[in-house]
Symmetry: C2
Subunit: 328 residues, 2 copies
């Protein structure tokens, strides 16, 4: 007899899969989960594909993130990379490596979070395949696939002098949430403790939610493409670092307006993990959801300027440099 | 100044990526590595997609597997899932999570192994995207994508009574290699030690190679599809377990001929990780590379028979049940 909430070590892979498959929602694929591979429709003869990994420790703490939060975030961060190409996400493949003592309820909650992330952020996208294995370190690798509906992909290297630089989504909000978690929800030894949401103001709750359960504007990726975006990328490592990458790829300088970046300029420039869409448009009439934050200039000797001055401080999240041994 | 062989913690993600990108070979994609996502051609409007994970500990030991072996195996096991659909692999996306003290030379060797795996097993397939992150547990999640070139996918549920059951590739060879590694290349405490190839017979070397650097018959997946295979799957968990899955999905019984499975029947039936292709054909004239090993029967009350007798022993690799704490 199995316990009411058995560990994954007490179950076969088939038993765990059957519990997951009931929770990820209907397949939209030609061939969905259950065979050696999924078969997905790509009507215009192209598929967009990306992979990203969340690792227990550097990327999340279980005291702060519930299983459903993790599933939601794992979906969101990968959907954002598809959207940043101007594409519409159609499928996720999820590789979940977990410790033997992981409870079935965790796997079920994680699957529900994946489903909720797809439903809220990218309707029509579903989990169409995956892999379960054991590991001492809980690791979530998600591959997202999408389609371009006949459009050209929007690359990061297409920004042209004179373009308006715009953003959809937050900059610095998720980092503010992480700061709140580190400052307020650790015990005396530094170990993460559960979040007491009642102890947070509404603004603080929003920031913590942006960190634990981000809602990047997935639907605005295709909108930007249709509106003629010349360049676009997902802001995962902080606005400064990612704008610099875009400028370098495009052979231009990006000049951000400090006044457009809110009261905490440093956090807006260096805070990562918001998964906002950074895009350049040739015209000032931006599509709804995007707001102007700067202008593209001919190469001014530095890839990134703020109010005309070179901004070369390191900023944003570098997984190697920012690795923190503290688990939880 | 960085050391001659720095750790990944001493380098930026961009520095590591630049070393990898020089080693994975030319991109065959519309948009290859370097943007938010890759864009791949899918000329017939469908893409085949699968993901599989290798975890340090349960799936490999670093004393036995070199970096290039690991890259090769990570490619091979995922290419096999694409081939098992009757598809031709076109791209890999590789998520590599590694400890901070991992040497750059390891990452470079791993990339070279990925490239060699694609070149030897699936020419035209390349690494088109990926993700690097830190983890206490070295973890490799590979997504493989492929195309069907206008054909229907070959599913595991299509076997029909009267079909010939056939296999391309080995059954039990990789398990024999694992047995040799466990018996001969561990020290007195059970810790894995490097393989001394000179101490092995040619047959033993082949078995160890089948475990560490498998060569599944990727090109025979499309060949089987063209030849009219009614069902096909990748034998990753042992012939008995996977044949049972095929029979159950098809609503039939599969009757294997013991005489066709070599001198060690038990190893052939239960040894996993060979990634052979198990396929059913309506005719006895099999395509080159496949050999007959049995017949499909109407449901005989058990999914798997051997010489007409039900075979219901558990066999093959179950990652949960077979987890072994011993690292190396």
């Amino acid at each position: 007899m199995t316990a009411p909430d058995p560990t994954v070590a007490e179950l076969s892979e088939g038993e765990i899969l059957s519990r997951i498959l009931g929770r990820i929602g209907p397949s939209g694929a030609l061939i969905g989960p259950g065979d050696d591979a999924a078969v997905l429709s790509t009507p215009d003869g192209r598929v967009v594909a990306t992979v990203d990994t969340l690792v227990h420790g550097p990327d999340f703490r279980l005291a702060w993130s519930g299983a459903a939060d993790l599933g939601f975030k794992a979906a969101a961060v990968n959907l954002a990379d598809i959207a940043a190409m101007g594409a519409r996400p159609t499928a996720l493949l999820v590789a979940l490596a977990m410790p033997e003592d992981t409870r079935l309820s965790f796997v079920e909650g994680f699957a529900q979070g994946l489903r909720a992330g797809c439903a809220e952020l990218a309707p029509g996208c579903a989990v169409e395949g995956g892999d379960l294995t054991v590991s001492e370190t809980l690791t979530i690798a998600v591959t997202a696939l999408g389609v371009l509906d006949g459009r050209a992909p929007v690359l990061r290297g297409g920004a042209r002098p004179g373009d308006v630089v715009a953003i959809a989504g937050d900059a610095g909000h998720a980092a503010e949430g992480l700061r709140i978690l580190f400052e307020r929800f650790r015990d005396a030894t530094g170990t993460p403790i559960p979040v007491d949401r009642d102890a947070l103001s509404e603004r603080e709750r929003d920031a913590v939610d942006a960190q634990l359960r981000p809602h990047p504007p997935i639907g605005l990726g295709p909108v930007a493409a249709i509106a003629g975006a010349t360049a676009m990328m997902d802001v995962s490592d902080g606005l400064a670092m990612d704008a610099r990458r875009m400028a370098t790829a495009s052979g231009v300088s990006i000049d951000l307006h400090a006044g457009a970046l809110g009261p905490d300029l440093d956090r807006a420039l260096t805070g990562g993990e918001d998964h906002a869409l950074l895009a350049c448009f040739p015209r000032a009439d931006l599509p709804a959801g995007f707001r102007p934050i700067g202008a593209v200039r001919a190469d001014a000797g530095a890839p990134l300027l703020v109010d005309g001055e070179p901004f070369d401080r390191r900023g944003g999240w570098d997984p190697y440099a920012d690795w923190d041994e503290q688990r939880g």
